[in-house]
């Protein structure tokens, strides 16, 4: 009896696992009518069809966390039948996931080069730039190491966290140091920009190189120190729908929402500049 229960349970668990492994098989078809478009935001550049349904899985760079969370709320409000699932992480890791066949509908990357790897693999056709970001030094509010300029990061005993160089924010930090002819040895190379910000927030490091938008998102928990414009690096964010998308209509509508005037407002308030 007990064994039977156990094996049943095991089989059930496994079936669930296998089902999860397969791509989501929800009602992907747009069902007719019924959804009269709910109260919309101000801009009208939204998907004009009120009949979108299904899930839209959005792979987005970690630095887009705040603005894309807002996009998710706005989009789900405008399309009650749609469930947006955000997967945030390092752009390069997300790109690897996509090229290895992880099911996704939209990809928003923090650099053109990671987007190019996805396009080269045939997972997307083309991408549209929708935002631009520059780098800033983030220090804990107490500023224990007394950082005032970029060159302070080279002092011995100053603990600096950077993104690892494979990640867009790491590449940008390397560019900044190159431009300023400085050599900085970080105590940690984090997997994405939010991890760098966390180390600064916790006061574990004296400084980190992050995006302007991250400093803004952290509110008063970190202090920003500007990098001179002539040595600063910027990165451009492209977005695209993916060819393997299960719900291309909803995915297209989401991308359109990001590119809309309403989307631009959200991005601007997060600190992004226009590409």
């Amino acid at each position: 009896m007990k064994a039977k229960c156990l094996s049943l349970a095991a089989a059930t668990a496994l079936a669930a696992l296998l089902a999860a492994g397969c791509s989501s098989s929800d009602s992907g078809t747009t069902d007719a009518g019924s959804t009269d478009s709910a109260s919309r935001g101000s801009s009208g550049t939204q998907s004009a069809s009120g009949g979108l349904s299904g899930t839209v899985t959005v792979f987005a760079a970690a630095s887009l966390q705040e603005s894309f969370t807002t996009f998710e709320e706005q989009f789900e409000q405008a399309n009650p039948e749609v469930d947006v699932i955000l997967n945030l992480g390092a752009s390069s890791a997300l790109a690897t996931g996509i090229t290895q066949g992880q099911p996704a509908d939209v990809f928003a990357s923090a650099s053109q080069s990671t987007m190019d790897t996805v396009i080269a693999a045939g997972a997307a056709e083309s991408a549209t730039a929708f935002a631009k970001n520059t780098m800033q030094i983030a220090v804990p509010p107490a500023n224990p190491a007394g950082i005032t300029a970029l060159s302070d990061l080279t002092r011995s005993g100053v603990k600096v966290a950077l993104c690892q160089t494979q990640v867009p924010c790491g590449k940008a930090a390397a560019t900044v140091f190159d431009n300023a002819s400085l050599t900085v040895v970080p105590v940690s190379e984090e997997s994405d920009v939010k991890a760098v910000l966390t180390k600064v927030r916790l006061g574990e490091v004296d400084a980190g190189i992050v995006y302007v938008t991250d400093v803004r998102a952290a509110g008063g928990e970190v202090t920003d120190i500007d990098i001179p414009a002539d040595v600063n690096a910027s990165t451009t964010y492209p977005i695209t729908t993916l060819t393997e998308s299960e719900h291309p209509a909803a995915a297209r509508a989401f991308v359109e929402h990001v590119l809309s005037d309403e989307g631009a407002e959200v991005l601007a308030s997060a600190g992004f500049s226009t590409p």
């Binding site: 064994a3 089989a11 190379e189």
Partner: protein, 272 residues
């Protein structure tokens, strides 16, 4: 020490309600490993394995896993003895707390370590103030993270051995005038040696595979805190082929450990 001579009944076939899920289970466990072998870039494998960065990560992994296992043995064996042989109020609570890291998600362990030994941590603050010494982002921090996660494996294994021990030998030793410490060293320890060895290997394997607590607490710095699991995770972001090759190295080590356990210590009837 009584030996049962009853042979268990062995049948060649299992009833299908057991055989089917068992087969599915085996398949599920083996397919990912087989897939890894199929996708391993054999031609570029030697290059990957000669890469100084990879050798650095492997060396660091072996050094830290061995160090944390040594610490775990020194602290864990006496702890296991206390849990098995003493009686006081709150002992069962203590046992539960000691084994908590067994079930705690490693990343949570990393957060806890950061709050304790980080630069602004409960203990770490004073370390920094008095000695100007911080643990995160150091190799010692890696050892600490691994030890925190892996030591309970050793404690649980060794405690089981202490409990299952025939007390007659120890009593005989003390009757003959051996002190408690001498008895422990000369009688008890040799008796539990097989379990101690098994626990040590388990602990070492767990330390070698430690990822979550390490990246959270010690960060990622090549040659200093970047162990093999971190190298695999980060290589996945830029160079999946290298990540597969690195995974293969870890898989080989794991298989070797398992073989060692099976042949040397994991005999049926040993206390594990």
């Amino acid at each position: 020490m009584t030996r049962s001579v009853r042979q268990p009944i062995r049948r060649s076939t299992a009833p299908w309600p057991l055989a089917v899920p068992a087969a599915v289970g085996v398949t599920f466990l083996l397919v990912p490993l087989a897939a890894m072998l199929l996708r391993t870039p054999w031609s570029s494998l030697p290059d990957v394995l000669r890469d100084p960065a990879v050798l650095d990560a492997l060396r660091l992994s072996l050094v830290t896993a061995t160090s944390s296992t040594a610490v775990a043995v020194v602290l864990g064996v006496p702890l296991a003895w206390v849990l098995a042989r003493t009686h006081f109020r709150g002992l069962s609570l203590l046992r539960a707390l000691v084994t908590l890291p067994l079930v705690l998600p490693p990343v949570v362990g990393g957060v806890a370590l950061l709050l304790a030994f980080g630069r602004l941590g409960v203990v770490g603050r004073w370390l920094d103030e008095w000695f100007g010494f911080t643990l995160p982002f150091t190799t010692l921090g890696v050892v600490l993270a691994q030890c925190f996660v892996a030591m309970p494996f050793l404690v649980v294994t060794v405690e089981g051995a202490f409990r299952g021990l025939d007390r007659g030998f120890e009593e005989a030793a003390s009757t003959l005038g051996a002190s408690r410490l001498a008895t422990f060293r000369r009688v008890t320890l040799p008796l539990i040696a097989p379990s101690l060895a098994a626990g040590t290997v388990l602990c070492w394997a767990r330390a070698l595979g430690e990822f979550g607590a390490t990246i959270t607490f010690a960060g990622n710095s090549p040659g200093i805190t970047q162990t093999m699991p971190l190298a695999v995770y980060l290589a996945m972001e830029s160079d999946p082929e290298a990540a597969i090759a690195l995974s293969l190295v870890l898989l080989t080590v794991s298989v070797a450990v398992l073989a060692l356990l099976r042949d040397r210590w994991l005999r049926p009837g040993s206390t594990l």
